[in-house]
Subunit: 332 residues, 2 copies
């Protein structure tokens, strides 16, 4: 709305962070003023080169945010590093210490009040003390399975159940994403990897927590299960050759219960050559709503919503906020 | 979120206002404390009886809001009277003068800054002086053709065009609605009534204005046309018997242009026995998004969003706000 150009530092220059930095450079209203990454293969090189541009940005990737701020003023940090609190909490504190607003794509930050209430309270307190705003966002968590269904309940007089299904044809996605969902593994290998912990999509408890809390419901039980999607036909992508019987992706189902029973079910399916690509939000109540979305490409959408949120975070009151606390995030 | 019960006065007890009042009475977190209507056939009668309840509300319909406030405290007025500024502006000023927040379903109030900037500025100034909030909302305008498409742009890196089509089977709606869309008229009669002015759906310029303004686009041209939908088969409803050649509804198309050409097209079709009932939002850009909604019943949804907005308005900062200024409205 205003003519102010918001100065953004990109913190984390992996695939998503590089895409975000490139998008900042092509958007009006924001200016990329710095790049931070701990990877020694990147530090010291020009940011433009690291993020894959033909022309230099004119400043190098640095390991410490403070080095950026010696050179330039900044308003907002766009933070795209890890999914989990044990990695990112100290980074968030560092950024708040430098006195900057934060938009982060860290999944566990999108609604941390359920799974990490103590860490959330620490970040909220630090943000208020710094007079700055911290937002975790993304397409999922942050939009498709939480803030968008919440927005749809605006036209409901009663909501008895919410079901969201995201079905992704992973053949259209990056190689690392195809690997992450188990493509090419044996069923035994998939299950063994699951035993070690962090397999599957991150963010379903955060989406569930945001919806329950906003609707004033008590989450008395949360269940989540991941199972392999096994190929019954050969699959070929730029990155994988899959034989029948091998894993071509995963299906994850999370269920949230109130004292009265199951209230919300989130189903996440990401598999190579998955024929239906799209999202469905079903709200059972008065009225019954069925909403189907096509085209919500995860990589494009995550970059978009992170950059689009910069304006709202820049304008927001201090504290740790979530997507349900801000005015509607839009392109601008 | 908080335990505060918000005390609501229903201002306007026509079909929508009566439905809103009934819904307030069945919801937690809000309490109906008064009913206002100028209709002498209603004033003096118990509000419960007027809105169609079996049991009395315990207070009468009154002509003046001040009479309600002699009897009880109140927080928010839910205002459902007319669509147009020339009717409702004095009512809004009266309510602000009484020191109450306002949720209104008046279409022209949903985004008044384009068509009625002076009146909007007067209301905004009065609201700030009173320390109260004024919101115009509804399913359309207020949601399907403006704040929801805006919310969907959150996951877009670029938006080239927005197309929204709302297709309603008016056979499922109230008799007055069926009449309002021209059901049973001759084509000549329909066109003659159009000449007299206010025929067709109210609110398309407001939706267009909210989207253009929020996206920072200049609305250089606005076009709107209404045409009859003519029956080529006999249609029978509880209220109308239509022969082939008679009008069974209307189609309205609004187009908004930037300096670069047509950017937004809103199509509103409401007709008896319209087979496809649903809404489609197409966003052309990066990515292309297609969103289809089923079940967005206008009467249920309008009542829902008005009551659901009460919490946000009660919590909001003073002034005249629109749906794109508040945190996401949800059921609660």
């Amino acid at each position: 709305m205003s003519g102010k150009i918001i100065k953004v530092v990109q913190y984390g220059l992996g695939p998503i962070g590089s895409a975000t930095a490139r998008h900042i450079m092509e958007r009006e209203g924001v200016e990329l003023v710095g790049g931070v990454d701990i990877d020694q293969a990147k530090t010291g090189r020009d940011v433009g080169e690291v993020i894959g541009l033909d022309s230099p940005a004119g400043f190098p990737v640095v390991k410490d945010l403070s080095r950026v701020l010696e050179r330039t003023e900044a308003d907002v940090v766009l933070h795209t590093t890890g999914s989990f609190f044990d990695l990112f909490e100290s980074q968030i504190m560092e950024i708040l210490g430098a006195g900057l607003d934060i938009v982060s794509t860290s999944e566990e930050l999108s609604f941390p009040w359920l799974a990490h209430p103590d860490a959330a309270a620490r970040i909220d307190a630090a943000a208020r003390q710094a007079g700055k705003t911290v937002l975790g966002t993304g397409v999922n968590p942050g939009f498709l399975m939480d803030s968008l269904p919440l927005n749809l309940t605006a036209i409901c007089q009663r909501v008895d159940r919410i079901d969201v299904t995201r079905r992704m044809n992973a053949s259209l996605r990056r190689g690392p994403f195809q690997a992450k969902i188990g493509s090419g593994m044996t069923v035994e290998g998939f299950k063994a990897k699951m035993e070690t912990g962090r397999m599957g999509h991150v963010g379903l408890p955060e989406s569930m927590g945001m919806v329950f809390h906003t609707l004033g419901k008590n989450l008395v039980k949360y269940e989540s299960e991941v199972e392999p999607v096994v190929a019954d036909f050969p699959v070929s992508t730029d990155y994988f050759e899959i034989q029948p019987g091998q894993v071509r992706g995963l299906k994850q189902v999370a269920r949230g219960y109130t004292g009265e029973g199951e209230f919300m079910t989130l189903t996440f399916i990401a598999a190579l050559d998955e024929t239906e690509d799209g999202d469905t939000i079903l709200i059972t109540g008065k009225p019954d709503l069925e909403v189907k979305l096509k085209g919500t490409n995860g990589d494009i959408a995550t970059v978009a919503i992170a950059v689009n949120a910069v304006r709202r975070v820049f304008e927001a009151l201090p504290g740790l906020v979530t997507m349900r606390d801000l005015p509607i995030v839009t392109i601008w």
